[in-house]
Each structure stands twice: as C-alpha cells, then as structure tokens.
C-alpha cells in the first residue's frame, strides 16, 4: 500500500483565456471522405432520425495574447539567422528547438513520474455539500500505464465495481475487465480477462445497463462512421469472459457532436440516459425511450444550456444522495467540483456555477471516475495516474563531444494529459512555446503554452485554447513549411494526407490560418520530422518509412527525395535541430533502449547530410511519450 499526501502544488498555472471553438481542422479541400468532424457544426433538431440534437451555441471568445507578444518582442534575444534563408516575411524565425536562446537545440522530454499507471482511490467520506472524498489516497501498483481508457463499473454483477481498460497497443485495442476480488486491499483488481479486440475504432466507451436486463452493456462510439455512430453491445451474462460478444444495436448517428459523454439515470426511471456536452458547452440529456432492442435514445432535452466548456473532464454520480446524478467536473487547474442535481426542469438540471469543491491537484490524472470501490455505499473517487506526466528540459551544453544534454531541469508536472508535445514559436516572440495535445478531450484538444521567458523557473505555465478535433491527425509536427518565418502546424491523417495550418502571426485570434493540403500517401511513415535540411529557409520533411528507410523530402524542390543510407528500423524517435552548431540541422534518433544518437549535419544540401558517425545524446528515454527537439 502506498499512501501519500496528494500533490497540491499546481505545476502549470492555467489561465484559460479562450473558450472558443477554434477551427482546428477546417474542411479538407472538397470535404471529401468520411472522417471525424473536428468541430461539429451541424445542428440536429430532432431525435427522430436517431441523431442527437444540438439546440444552440454559446458566443465564442477570442484569443488575445497581444500583450505578451509585444513584451516578448522587446526582450527576446535575436534568433540565430539561418544560412541561405530567403524569407517572405519580415520577421525572422528563432532557431528551432532552442528553448534557452543560446542558438543550440535543447531537448524537451515528457517522462513518467511516480505512480504512473497506478489508480489512486480516494474513499468517499459521506459529505453531501462539501468535498466528499478523503484527501489521502490508496494507490494500486502501476499496472495500467498502458491504458488509454478507464471505466469502473460492476461488470460481474457482484455489487463491486470492476475496472475496464483499453490497451490501444494490443490487437488494435484490447479491452480488459479486472474484476474486483472484494478483498478491500490496495489492489482489489489483481486479475483480468479480455473483452474483445479491435476497440481502437471507437473513441468513447461507456458501460451501463441499457437493455434493462440488469447486466451492464457496453456503449461505443465509432467516430468515423456517419459523424459518430453509437452502438450498444448487449451483455451476454458472462462474468469470466468477454460479456459483450452479442451483435451491437445501432443507436444513432451524429454523436460526434458530443465532446464528452456520460451515462446515468437522470430521469429516475431506472434506465440510463446519455448526457453529452456539446461544442457550445451545453449539457444535453437524451432520455432512454424504454426500448430494449433498438435505438434507446431518440429525443433530447437540455440538462443545462451552457457554461460547461471549461471542464476538461466530466463524470456523473449521485454524490449528494438525493437519488439523482450530480455532475463531477475537473477544471483546467485540476480542481474537482460537484454540481448537485438541481431539478427536473429542462435546462436547469445542473448549474455550472452552483457547485462545491471536491479537491484540487488532480491534473495528474488521465481519468477521474467514481464508483463504490469499498462497498460502503458511498461513491469513491478513482484517479488514473497518467504516464509521462513530468516534463523536463535538457539544455544544450554546447559540448563539442559526447552528450550535449547531460542534465535536466523540470518543466512542470501534470503533463500526463498530453498525448503529444511540440515546440514552436507560436506568437512570434522568438521563444519556444509548447503545444500539447489532449487527445481524450473533445476529439483532440490542442493547448498552447506560451513561453513566459523565464530563465530560472517554469517557462510554460499559461495555456491557451488551440482548438478541438485534432484527433483527425495521428501525427502532428511544427515547423515553418511556408517559408514566412512563422511556425506552421502540419498534421497527418489516417489516410496519409498531410495538411498544414500556416501560422498567421495573430496574437488576437486563432494563430493558424485554415489548413491547406501539403502531401499525401504518408501512411507508411512511422516517424516524421521537419527541419530546414537544404537551408533554403523552408522546413523540409524527414521521413522514416515502415521498411526502415529514411528520406529527406526537400520542400519546393523539383528533385527526387534524398535517400539516407542505412537501415533505420527500430528508431523510436526522430528529431531535427541545431544541436552541434553545424550549418544545418542535426538528426537525433532514439532507439528502443532509450538511447539517443546525434548525426551531425555535414553541410550537404542535396545529398545525405548525416553521414558522420553519431555521437550519443543520452539514455533513459525509452518511456518518453514526447521527445522534442
């Protein structure tokens, strides 16, 4: 058993300035094939078609960091000029990946801290008007580092909550059920059985008795199909093997409008409703229609008309003991709040402002869910400690030989939500900002952490909303691919198409212009990186293929791609940066053992620029989710 005081220090002080629905992914040229809709824009007016409805919107706000930018422009050091650069824009770009401003690329690594992958259980204390959970927790062993989805529910029917997780790396998404053994120990979920594979095709999983047979069914949303098709997999009664093997029941399309989905009995009829937060920040309640065999949710009422956009996690449970579910929210600072049930009146079931605190410091958690783990009838809180929650900066020492990044300094904790971290100068202040993707929030939310210029403390403490829907990309890169001196975002989607969001330099609005197609057929690339290899002022693309070959695709050149000799199979990370001080970017690759190798640029612009014998860039990075130059 591991017990500790909950971390209350907020590593990243969050100042959410933007609640706008930013155009994270504008319509593809032609708006062609079916794909997740990044930002739902269609209004559905009736449940008759089986589609969830979205009654209205909230007014959007703007992102304004002009003050920051103006300040930064007067204080930031001059960037290192790029050799041979011919720029369209007047403002030169900073040296890529140079966090410390010394002209050399630093390393930013996202690594796991203590308890990564563990479940922390905060037992319920019975309070109904104040924090209902104890401030200390009991941590399980770190067994669930692999899991990207955590649900607790009584799957086995023994009135004890079990753990349901998905392992995205096993057979395209294997679902596991960990039955609660009733031991009351620190790890009441010691064993497991599989509950099917291939679950990566869905992006939302809920568990509850929908068909009314007393057994929990599984709800799954396929975001690619018809703007989000919801299927209910009826429970087959098994408590020792996959209980969801029966044919799924189609339960409506268009569910992608739900940024968050919950399942609970809102109407008090014993049948669960779906509660969804839409893109306007409203809570929509889809009453269960009583069906036991077909689409269960065919109408809609407002649970609350808005104000919920700031929550980055939502769940439901009857904390107040009034027989109706309350809403449990986590705000961007990591604080939990209980929003008690208000009334059955449409639009007034819960209030975003009528709430009481339920603890702070939960930003470390990938998931915060509730259930009666201890069997005392009170809801307990289960927090899934994210892996790679710690961010580290490894400054470049400019050492001529050996590892240039021997030391590290903290860049904050609580980064476990981030499925990917990028470095880029978003606001044009010549300082490297952090872009962090939370793929579990609103189909992929991008957060922009502006660099505050600190040289001694944390640099990335304030974040801004960078839009939702970024999950349409399975790989994101930052770099100047337009040659205008501004950092662009480049994403690859599942079809292998790449789109660039050119940086527009705006400090008052979404900092990227609508996307433009920049490439295709990249589905065979296992790693991609941007850097100005040919030193023409525009970032080129470095591509590691699934056959182990490595290529440079010079941007704007009419020549064929440059093949980099060697077998690069096994490469786990790929980065480009001015590590050694050479004229072009050096290549930094990470292997499966966690070691980094630096291939110094040899000056070639049309042939292999990384022909030299590599030098070490350090070790121990095997667990890093993001390793950024």
């Amino acid at each position: 058993m591991t017990t500790s005081i909950r971390v209350t220090a907020v590593a990243a002080v969050l100042s959410l300035a933007v609640l706008t629905v930013a155009p994270a992914a504008h319509a593809a040229p032609g708006g062609d094939r079916e794909r997740p809709t990044p930002v739902p824009t269609e209004s559905y007016h009736s449940g008759k078609s089986g589609k969830p409805s979205k009654p209205g919107r909230v007014k959007t706000k703007k992102w304004d960091v002009s003050g920051l930018r103006a300040k930064a422009l007067t204080t930031a050091p001059e960037p290192t000029a790029r050799a041979g650069a011919s720029r369209a824009a007047a403002t030169p770009a900073p040296a890529a990946n140079d966090v410390t401003g010394d002209g050399r690329a630093d390393l930013v690594a996202q690594l796991s801290g203590a308890d990564a992958g563990a479940l922390r259980v905060y037992t319920g204390n019975g309070a109904t008007a104040s924090n209902p959970w104890e401030t200390t927790y009991t941590a399980t062993p770190p067994r669930w580092e692999f899991a990207d989805t955590l649900i607790i529910a009584d799957v086995t029917g023994d009135n004890r909550v079990d753990v349901v997780v998905r392992d995205p790396s096993a057979n395209n998404g294997t679902l596991y059920v960990y039955p609660n053994d009733g031991s009351g120990s620190a790890n009441p979920w010691p064993s497991r059985f599989a509950a099917g594979t291939g679950w990566n095709i869905v992006d939302r999983i809920l568990v509850g008795d929908v068909t009314g047979d007393g057994k929990p069914d599984l709800l799954a949303r396929n975001p690619v199909e018809s703007s989000g098709t919801l299927y209910v997999y009826p429970n087959n009664g098994s408590v020792t093997s996959n209980p969801w093997t029966r044919s799924p029941i189609w339960s409506g399309n268009g569910w992608n409008l739900a940024q968050m989905m919950m399942l609970d009995d809102v109407t008090g009829d014993g049948k669960p409703e779906i509660v969804a937060r839409d893109t306007t920040g409203a809570l929509l309640v889809y009453p269960h229609n009583g069906s036991t065999t077909s689409n269960f949710w065919t109408s809609i009422v407002y649970g609350s008309t808005g104000g919920w956009s700031s929550a980055d996690r939502l769940s439901m449970d009857d904390v107040t003991g009034d027989g109706r579910p309350d809403v449990i929210s986590r705000d961007p600072s990591g604080a939990l709040w209980i929003h008690p049930w208000q009334s059955a009146t449409a639009g007034s079931m819960w209030s975003p402002t009528t709430r009481f605190a339920a603890g702070t410091g939960f930003e470390y958690a990938l998931d915060v869910v509730t259930g009666d783990v201890t069997g005392d009838g009170r809801p307990d809180l289960v927090a899934h400690v994210a892996r790679s929650g710690d961010l580290w900066l490894l400054p470049n020492t400019k050492a001529a030989t050996g590892n240039p990044w021997p030391d590290r300094v903290t860049a904050g904790t609580g980064w476990g939500f981030a499925s990917q971290i990028l470095l880029a100068d978003v606001n044009g202040d010549h300082l490297q900002d952090v872009l962090a993707v939370d793929k579990r929030l609103s189909n992929g939310t991008l957060w922009i952490y502006l660099n505050n210029g600190s040289t001694t403390g944390l640099r990335w403490t304030t974040r801004h909303f960078g839009g939702t829907g970024w999950n349409i990309f399975n790989h994101l890169m930052a770099g100047d691919v337009t040659g205008d001196g501004r950092a662009d975002l480049v994403g690859r989607d599942s079809a292998g198409d790449m789109y660039a969001y050119p940086g527009n330099g705006s400090t008052t609005a979404f900092p990227w212009t609508p996307r433009a197609w920049v490439g295709s057929n990249w589905q065979t690339a296992t790693r991609l990186a941007l850097g100005d290899v040919d030193r023409d002022g525009i970032a080129d693309l470095v591509d590691l293929e699934n056959d182990g070959s490595l290529w440079v695709f010079p941007t704007g050149a009419s020549t064929d791609p440059i093949a980099i000799p060697g077998n690069w199979t096994g490469t786990q990370s790929l980065g480009l940066g001015h590590v050694t001080g050479s004229s072009g970017p050096d290549l930094v690759v990470g292997d499966a053992s966690g070691g980094l190798s630096i291939y110094a640029d040899n000056g070639a612009t049309s042939g292999n620029p990384w022909s030299s014998t590599p030098r070490s860039g350090g070790t121990g990075f095997q667990g890093a989710i993001s390793l950024v130059l």
Partner: protein, 820 residues
Amino acid sequence: MLQMTGGAVVAGGALAATTPLTGPPAAHADTFVPTPLAATDPEPNVERSKHWWPAQRNVWTPVGWKGHLFRFNVVYNGALICDPSWVLAAKPNTQPWHGKNFQTTVVMPMRGGGFRPFPTFQYEVWDDDLGQGKQGWEEDSDAPVLWTEHRRQEGLVIKQSVFAHVPGEQTVQTATEPIYSWTRFEVTHVDPVSAVKDFVFQLWLSGSYMKPAGPYQDEDGVPLTVFPGTAPILAGLTMGRVWNPTGKPITVPITDNEGNVKVMVTTADKGSIAMTENKVKGVYDLRLGLPATVGAYVDVLIPMIPAPLADAKAEAALGRDAALAKCQAFWKENAASIAVVDTPENYVNQVVRRGPQLAQVVAEKSPDTGLFTFLSGSYAYDVLWSTPTSMVSHMFMDRLGYHDVVENHIEIYAATQGTRTPPGSVFAGGTYPGYLSTPKTLQAIDWISDHGAILEILSVHALLTNRPAFIAKWTDVIVKACDYIVQACGLTNHGGVQGLMPPGHSTDEGVETQGFISQCFTYKGLTSAVEFLQRIKHPRAAEFATFANTFRTTFVQAVRDLADRSAKWTDAKGRQWPVFRPQFAGEGVWDAFTMLDTGALMSVWAGLMPASDPMMKSFVEFFRVGPNTLVFDAVHHNALDRAVLDHEQSSAEPCYSWNMFHTWQLGERAPFIEGLYGLLTGGLSQDTYISSEHRNAIYGNLFSHPIITWSLLHAVIDDSLVPNQLQLLRLCPLEWLSGKKQTRFEKVPTKFGPVTLRFKLEGGRDRDDDRSGHDTLKVEFSGDWHHKPGRVIVETPPLPGLKWIVVNGNRYRAGRRIEL
C-alpha cells in the same frame, strides 16, 4: 411524319393521305414521342431538329492519332478508356496487348461529402446519370480536343479536355509508337455568389470496366455496361509520397508493378493529390484538388501502354500546352484537294471539320502489314466490315477531297484481291482472282456485298480524282473485280435468282440469303466501274455495261416477282402494296429491321430502281406511316425492333436511311431536308459528332457521316442526278441562305472536277435578320474541270421574296431553272 405535303416538288403523287397532320410546331415538339412536322412548320434546321429526340445516351468518342493502332475513348461522363485490344471480334495485331487496359472514371463529390462507392454489380452505365453528358470539341484548336463539362453545385464548372499526343508529332511509322492522352481539368466558372474555396474530385483508376454489351431489350440496344469484375488492377498501382507545402504544381507519377507509368499528374497550383486503394481491391481513388478559381487546372497524362518513367517524365516535362501546340501542325489539313464547307450553321461546319479527323483516328496502320485501313469503329467494331465502312471512302472522305487519305487507306484491297473466298457456300472450292475482300487479319464478318462496296470505293475515287497514277495502278484491279461479278453472277448452283449475286452471308445474321444489299452494292460498284472504264475508253467497258444492264433487268424482274409473293400493307387510300423482305432467297433473322436497312429501298441508291416506281414510293411510305409505326415505341425500342422512319431516319441504324436517295432523286425537298437534319442531329452525337450504329448505343464510328456528307453536298452541288449534268442549289436548305454570311462550298470534288460554289443573299430591304427582306441571291461558281459537265443547272431555293439570282455577275429571275 411528313406526308409529302411540304415539298415544293412532289413528283408522282402522294400515296398516303395528303392531309397534313396537325401538331405543335417542330421547335416545340419533342422529347419522347415523335412529333410529325406540320405543313406550317418552318423548314428544319439544326437547332430545330435537335429537339426531335432526346439526346443520345451512352456516347463515347475516340481520341487518338491518325493511323495509330490504339485509340483512347472518352465516355459522355468523362471516363477515359484506354484499351489497346478490346474488340467485338478478334484482330490478331492487337492480341499482344489484350487485357492490358486501363480506365479513369471521373467521380464527383456527393452532396454532403464523400464519393460514391465503386460499383460491385453489373448494370448499365446510364443507370447512374441517364447516360447523357455535355461534351464538345475545342473549336479554336485544329487538333481535336474533346471537352466534357462538369457543372457542380459546389458553385463551379470544371471543364475536362482531352487530346492525344504522339511525341514527334509525325505520321505513324510502326503505329505502336507511344501515345499519350493529355487530360486537363480546369475551372472555367465560379459562382459569384457562393462557391467552395477548394474543390476536390476523384478519378477511379482501374481496368476498363465500362463495355458495350447488348441485351436488346426495350430501349437498350448495346449500351455501355458496368462489369465490375474487370476493374481491378490485380498487380496494383503505386503513387509515391507527395510533399508539397509550397503548393506549386508538381508532377506525380503513378506506376504499375513493373515501375512503368500508368498516370502522370501535374497538380494544380495550390492543388492537392492523393491516391488510396478503393474498398474494391485493385481499384484506386485518385483524389485531385484545385482552387475554385477560374483558370485553375490539373493535368493528367496517361500513356496508352504503361511508359518507362523517363519517357513519361519527358512527356510531362513538355507540358500540356506545349504538347497541344505541337499537335496543331499535325492536324491542320494542308492538302490542296480538301473541300471547304462553311455554312451559316456552325454545327454543320464542325461536323464536316471533325468527321474526317475521326475517320482517320478510327483507322490504323496495321503493324503486321504496314498498310493503312479504315476501321469500322472504336471500342466496338475495331475491325473492318468493308461494306458499311466503304461508305467512309466513297460517300464521305473522297467527297470532301481527302483523296490522299482514301488512297492511303485502300491499299489493303489491292493486296487482298483474289486471296480469299466469298462468304457463301456456293463459292466453296472455286477460285476468284478478282474478288475484293477484307483482309483476313482485319475481318469481322464478311458480307457478299463487300466486293461491290470495295469496287465502289475504287471506281468513285477514280471518277472523282481522275488521278493518272491511281488509274494506272488500279484499272486492272477494277477490271478483275468486274470479272468477278460476272463470274459470281454466273454461278448456278444455288436456289436463288439466277443471274444475280448468289446467296451468301448478306449481313451478320449468320445465315445465307440472297439479299438486296448484296445486289445493290454489286450493281453500284459495277456501274461506277463501268462509268470509269467508259471514261478511260477501256476496251471492256461495253462488255461490262451490257452485263450491268442484264443484271438490272434481272433484278427488276426479281423485285416484281418478290412483290407478288410478298405480304401486303394497305395505304390510306386503300391500295395494297408489297412489304419486301430484305432478300430474294433464304431466310433472314432480323427481317424486322433489315427490310429497311439492307432491303429494297437500297435499289434506288444503287440505280436499280427509280424512286418514282410506285413500289419504291409505297415502300418508303410503309416505313413512314405503315403498320410498323403502330407498334413503334419511340422510348422503348432498339435496333432489332420493327423499323420505321423517324424524321426520315431509320429507327434501326441511321446510316442505312436509304430513303434519303429517294427523296433526293424525286426532289422531295421537305422530306429530304428533314432527313438531312434528322441524320445530322439524330445519327450523330450532337456534342461530339461521333456516329452511333443505332441510337443510344455503339458509338465510336463514322457510320452516319457518309450519308450525311453525301446528302449535304448533293443538296447544293449535285453531280449524280443526271449523267453529265451538274445541278446547283437544287435542295439547298434555306438555313444556308444568309444575308450576313456567305455560304461557301469550295473545291468540292465531283465527277467533273472540283467545284466551288459560294452564295449570299443581297438586295431588298435592309433587315437585321439573316434571310427575310432580301430579294437577290448572289452566287459565285467555278469548276476546275477534268471532265467538264455537259450542262450546269442552277435551281432556285424556295425562299419567299427571292426575285433574282446573280450567278458570276449574271442576273437571272428566280424561280426558273437556270442553265449556265
């Protein structure tokens, strides 16, 4: 149906009811039910006649290079079919490429996004889109550039244009030189109110899967049918990774499993490209994006045979515009003998302009023989039926002065003469040194009529050109061909009419008959040969002339005998007339339509029967108003149904509208003009001028061009009506009389030599419109005689208010026959 009431000259009296049928004016009539022309209707023209039928379905049009073994075919919907060896009959010289086909299909986005799935079951292509598109030729280009328009509700219009290019731009030598199609998709219009910013469409890349297939049920003859099973490219296609943040046009190859280029795309400026495999394995979705800006375009280069990367890159590097520019000289006709036809109707002019180009594309220099030949079609009938295809020479290309082309394409017949046996059991075991036939390597189905048809080619060419070299080379061939006719007609070991061409395969029916078509082509060729031999005072001319007279006498008697034993139909006056079967002996399979297309009406064209013969007149009327018309369903019929004349056009195969020679001979102006325009707009695609074999099916051929060309030329310059006499303006459509534009027929070949005729309305009141108010027709006429006609007659077009005709400065009162 015109009841012989509207013509200025109604010779012989009308057999049918003369009360004009009332109906809406032709210009307003239309669509699915044939609407007879009323007596009060204005004379037809192109625009009016376009409304006589729904637009044809299933059109495909070849795009290629003169004489090349391979042709691209563009379907009405923009699909491009590259099939080097798809034929409805085996042709050995393309067998090495059999199955190596390719197709691109234009797939536009669906409302709401996404693209329709690739078909997985067999159905007819027109089920998707009613079978009609909007196409045309780029008129400012001598090289044939075929465009297809895609009007999109996204707020823009995409114009797809296709042309073929053979690097070097020379006449083919091997005929298998690399040939590329260049296709451009260009934004030509953007809605000013609402339009997308960017537009993405798709090309399906597949094997050819749209193929002609004929159920012959209801309205379907041989439509294009989707055969999904032929679509997959089993060996796969590959497109490399594309990285193009600059958005500048880049060239992207798509290669086959051997690394050869199937497709080379030059992307649009700020465009996009991606390729993924369709859910149907072996079919690929090539996604092409371009800004919705007028002038934005993407180019798609496709070699007929997958090209080595270096070759394809070189062609792509040339660029579409440069390639097209290089093509212009190749396609610009410079031969001095080629006629000029320039009427106030641009449609007519374009038919005359593009038709010969198409004829030279639907042709090949056979690699196995090194000889050129016309073919019967493209993507159907890519072989040679000499009988129908002969008309491309003697009624079409030679009549427009393409004499070199004709000479070049008929060499095969000299090489083949006497090498084969005629297609009839009566000929078995014999030797026929004079027999003219299709070379075995090009053969589809030989017909007995082939010999006469080929002889007609040779004789007419000699008569029209009077070229000494040709005459010197071919006279013996012609004489031997006449000998063959005498020999064949002398065979007695058959049950047909003795003294005529014996029974054999008259058509594709697979049975032996003694068909009208065999006799008519035989006699036509023979009499043209006699005319030629008489002209050169050949010692055997009289002998063959005598034989021809005997033949005709025998034929006429056979017709009368056949009439006696034929079923009868009753006209409006209660008189009974024979319904001629299309053969004198044997049993046909398709009599229901061949009685029109290959039957007794041919006798007038051949010169075997006068059009004024009551049996001929009655038989034309039979097809106009007879009992077939009561079971004719204009919407649901096909080429095998009982034939009728629909706007003077055969409802079976328009090219066999032999009634045109009746109305021409009789001077029945109204039905002749109706037929002329009917064929122009009903026998051809109104968009690309390619001919169909029968309406809505089997395109890619020139079948209807000969009768159209012959008729439109003879309407103004007629060297055929009366021996040794030239008739001018006899059946000239009123639409060609203009006060604004001089109508020009220049260097039109005749048996007397090239004739130039220009005319324009002048004088009278000053009116804005073309015709009314003018009282004078100014005519310029000249002839470059090699055999001066005995008489030259100028007829007066029946234009109201026309008082004077001024010919070469001499004023004549209109309405009188003018002899120059």
